[in-house]
Point group: C2
Chain length 423, copies 2
């Protein structure tokens, strides 16, 4: 242990302070290893562009502009708040009951309140998955490009993420069993799948998910399925959950991560949940829940109005996203050299652009490019890969603004790619 | 890796599922080692008492019944919500500015926005402290009885909590430097102090905190000071923060954990914050902040109205608590054999009751005792100790209900102790 300065009683407190101005306050290796969010790292450049009077079309972040259902928020106008109290650590009881009912509608009719715990966003559910099933040094498989915020939690939990690379050419669908199996080691504890996928928009079909689940069964792995984009699939499929592929006798290999953020345009309430047939898991994560006491009361009350939202709401939202997806598609078709497929779900594209280094290109869009005082903000996709060098030419495009704005943004992007390649 | 059942393609998915009903889905050692909240573990017994028609006076949990300032919540009636969006990961900018201003008022005039990060309750700030400054196996010193939710995060972070025992006879004040120093090892990274203290109500004087800070300086340790009960000190002292004991040249040994939950009776909003002169620390924990995206928008907007609350509000609240403290004091004086001092702060007493086993006594209060269909719920204090066998006869009493209720509860407690000792 290093000591700076020698303290004797006669020195006095203030003398001591003056003489110990150098010290060695190290931060932990795990926080140093935690990456910055690839989605948010360009924020300083964006702020400075705005300061220069540039208007930015934000296609970089999964923050939709869709209206929240009135049914969920209008009650706030009528409420008289005396004080706001902790809720149960497991979550607001009414909300849990509504979630159980919802999962019954999805087909998982055996789900009860004991299978559900409310979390501070889907993020907390992901965090708890790692801490509850992995020892230090254990491995979790992800399909890259993957939802990178998972990495922050993996670093916290000292869990190693093992990437299986998916390919842009086949719309980032799952590779063969052989490829997946080759990445399973004795340390592998779980597979994480986001379906529909953030960042790629890929919707993995029931047969793909079943195939993966079988692999998990055979190799004694948990399957974590993040279904926060469940409602946004642009083909004719029945609304469902991966839980329907798990037999009731298989008590607990599957863990569903879910959230209200995207479904009801409620990113600003931090309410997600974990659903699993593994009641022992839910009981145990409740201890983490007790440590953080509770999730926000008002936020849970907002989410708890899910029953009151007419089914029409999500139909309209889905139609809107579907049209936006088409706008991006038409825009990308006009950029020579762009590589992409039309994603089946969520509200993202991962696209290869002929720009050499997408990281630099995305920064340049903010620092050096504008068209009539406007520019586009994208997320460079290399941050969604763990394998070094992968995704270097790719970007994630989020279609979270109105079609008119998307159209302008796509024209601008085409101009920008041309200018970038000229310069 | 164990495998259950052998899958061949011809078996089919459903056959396979039926034949793999036994498997080995282990949970991690760290979640198994995480304790249940000692404050919440009697909840099932309480629920069942209520089901039998028993009215319970809840003195077990730090959930005040005080009215939230109107200024913080009345605006909700006027707001038109289009959608609720993610805020900045560091927190709502207006709220951060208000906190900076507040810390200037507390005396720490050099604090800037870069020294602050908003967290999901004080709890998240504690969690981030462990993950950002400790490696696996490092040690953090706590003064027992201590705020046990800290242990949940220590287990998560694989950090060992090392207890220094404080004594009921001297109001749980800090022991001598010699005692404290004897617990410092090469693995010690930080000292955690809650001031005023939960669960004991002890207010550590400036000279006590300075003494501890000097020890931290000499031993190159972080000092984490949890000041969420800062406003509730029942002696004439100027509102202050431990940050005032840190010279500006000492950039970053001290980390303040703070929260709105107790100050404004806002436990149900999950908004706390971390303040430190160590900007590198704040910059780095922001990466954890990005992983969980943001804190609730509405909750931060509520907290952000702190500027509008008249200073009178906290004066009145403090007076109310002070009177409640007196009710408990008078009640305890009437219980022969009870050991206690009048705590200087927060809204708790830790008291030794002549009941042999306080754990069993507290359970019995809910399962087998009632007086005119009413009973009292207390938190057994052994859960606030790490040292085995300590605090066996102690309970935590939270004075978070009205004086009339407290008076009844204290009469009931006296009767209960008598009955318990007769039976």
């Amino acid at each position: 242990m290093r000591r700076y300065g020698v303290y004797t009683k006669s020195d006095g407190f203030s003398f001591f302070c003056q003489n110990v101005s150098m010290f060695d306050m190290k931060l932990s290796q795990r926080i140093k290893n935690t990456p910055e969010s690839p989605i948010r790292k360009l924020e300083p450049a964006a702020r400075s562009a705005k300061a220069r009077g540039i208007k930015i079309y934000h296609l970089n972040i999964g923050q939709p502009d869709i209206k929240t259902p009135n049914q969920m928020v209008s009650w706030l106008k009528k409420t008289n708040i005396h004080h706001l109290a902790y809720t149960e650590s497991q979550g607001n009881r009414q909300l849990i009951k509504s979630i159980v009912k919802y999962y019954h509608q999805l087909g998982a009719k055996d789900i009860t309140e004991d299978n559900v715990i409310i979390t501070a966003g889907g993020s907390e559910a992901i965090q708890w998955c790692f801490f509850s099933i992995c020892e230090i040094g254990d491995e979790v498989m992800v399909f890259e490009p993957f939802y990178t915020n998972v990495e922050g939690y993996a670093r916290m939990a000292d869990v190693k993420l093992v990437p299986v690379t998916c390919k842009i050419e086949n719309g980032f669908h799952l590779p063969s069993n052989q490829v997946i199996k080759s990445k399973i080691t004795k340390k592998t504890k779980a597979v994480y799948l986001s379906n529909p996928n953030n960042p790629t928009g890929t919707y993995y079909s029931p047969s793909e998910v079943k195939r993966l689940y079988q692999l998990c069964l055979k190799n004694n792995l948990y399957l974590i399925v993040d279904e926060v984009y469940r409602d946004f699939i642009y083909q004719k499929v029945k609304l469902s959950t991966a839980l329907n592929f798990e037999k009731k006798s298989q008590k607990g290999r599957m863990i569903i991560v879910d959230s209200f953020s995207k479904r009801y345009s409620l990113c600003g309430i931090r309410v997600g949940f974990m659903v699993s047939r593994n009641k022992e898991l839910i009981q145990n994560v409740l201890k983490f829940g007790q440590a953080r006491l509770a999730v926000g009361d008002l936020d849970q009350q907002i989410a708890g109005r899910m029953d009151q939202v007419p089914p029409d709401y999500l139909k309209k939202v889905k139609k809107e996203y579907q049209e936006r997806r088409e706008v991006i598609y038409q825009g990308l078709k006009k950029i020579p050299g762009a590589v992409f497929t039309k994603p089946e779900g969520a509200f993202y594209y991962v696209t290869k652009l002929p720009v050499g280094d997408a990281d630099k290109f995305c920064e340049w869009l903010l620092t050096s490019f504008h068209h009539n005082q406007e520019t586009v903000m994208l997320a460079p996709a290399n941050g969604f890969y763990l394998s070094k060098g992968k995704g270097k030419e790719e970007v994630r495009i989020a279609y979270v603004i109105k079609k008119s704005g998307l159209r302008k943004a796509m024209v601008m992007l085409k101009l920008a790619v041309e200018k970038w390649n000229r310069e």
